[in-house]
Amino acid sequence: MDGVHDMGGRQGFGPIHYTPGAATFHAEWERRANALYGLAVRHGIFNMDEYRHGIERMDPRHYMGASYYERTLTSLATLLVEKGVVTRAELEQLAQGFVPLSAPAAPGRTNLPNRERFQPGDRVRVRDEFFAGHIRMPAYIRGKTGVVVRETPIYPFPDAHAHGVPAEDEPTFDVAFRSEDLWPQGADSALVHVGVFQSYLDRAT
């Protein structure tokens, strides 16, 4: 989905609030939220793609205003309700207030047809298509051409795995793009490497 979570290249942001050796956690509840979502994953209540999509499905205003661990918490609460572990009513009674949950998911999809096996050096083009479910293709590479650097052995296909749709595991390809191709006249010069699932790629002609 073309959600606000797809931040790569979006403008209007300011200086990085960088301090060397910065902390990971600020408050005690953040450590707990992080531990509890990990526990749910280990119990098989949801997988990492479902977890990430639970964050992406947050109301965009909430996403932009929430801290990192509030996003964790929102996905965790959403998935516990969606998976039937708890009702929203029970959760809100326990929390003594409104518990924001993410919007329902669009349907998933299985692996795409006409997948090709690419070799290092092959020129590939990211398919120019739009999918409303979970997808690990940042919008800034859509329709763009890059060069395969290596193949990485198979992973679950996110567009299926986040939605409970059966699919084969797929290779991903480390594809190098020139920043000048991604953002003509609008980027610092660099090679940008993106891990791209086989279903998202065509051979460049």
Binding site: D6, W29, A35, E82, E92, F98, A190, L191, H193, V194
Partner: protein, 201 residues
């Protein structure tokens, strides 16, 4: 989702929401208290940048290990007794040189090789870094204190799959010949993300 609830008017605080979820997990026999204790211990004692430091130090000092690391990072990490969660199926080590700076970002969320380099720092998870690092790499690094010469090429690695990356910084010349454990201790998390170089490099 559950239309029969009476929508409460006040949003529960993040602490209240965390408490509620923990209570649910407790009631379902999932033992969240133990998981939280374990997560504290893992974050503080197990998932420390020294893990990555040990990998880097060995790569600096052992050319055969360096080759194995570049070929299969996860297996090389395992040689040192370092593990990764099951869904992190691969680890790719990215070697900096004097003329090449590798930088890691996750534009879509905040993926990190956290068992190897430690949990991600706050700025890595902020929207600013995620939005800008991939498009304004040189500018962002400069703002963060890493003012690279124009001759240094930048490679940005966007962690869009569950393959994880770590940067092998260049070794400070004055540390040549140091023992591995002393070398491991000088490698910082930020250098393994690629937003900093080690002193003297």
């Amino acid at each position: 989702m559950d239309d029969q609830r009476i929508a409460p008017t006040r949003t529960a605080s993040v602490e209240q929401r965390t408490d509620a979820i923990q209570a649910v997990m407790e009631a379902r026999g999932m033992q969240p208290g133990a998981a939280i204790d374990s997560a504290y211990q893992l974050a503080e004692e197990e998932w420390v940048p020294l893990n990555g430091g040990r990998i880097v130090a060995k790569a600096w000092t052992d050319p055969a290990f360096r080759q194995r690391l570049l070929a299969n990072g996860k297996a090389a990490a395992a040689e040192l007794g370092l593990s990764m969660p099951p869904h992190h199926r691969h680890l790719v080590a990215l070697e900096n040189t004097a003329d090449l700076q590798n930088v890691i970002v996750c534009t879509l969320c905040s993926c990190t090789a956290f068992t190897i380099i430690g949990l991600p720092p706050e700025w890595y998870k902020d929207l600013d870094y995620r939005a800008r690092a991939v498009r304004q790499s040189r500018t962002v690094l400069k703002e963060m204190g890493l003012d690279l010469p124009a001759s240094t090429e930048i490679r940005v690695w966007d962690t869009t799959t569950d393959t994880r990356y770590m940067v092998i910084p260049t070794q400070p010349p004055e540390t040549i010949g140091w023992p591995e454990d002393k070398l491991a201790a000088i490698v910082t998390k930020d250098a393994m993300i690629g937003v900093a170089r080690l002193p003297g490099t």
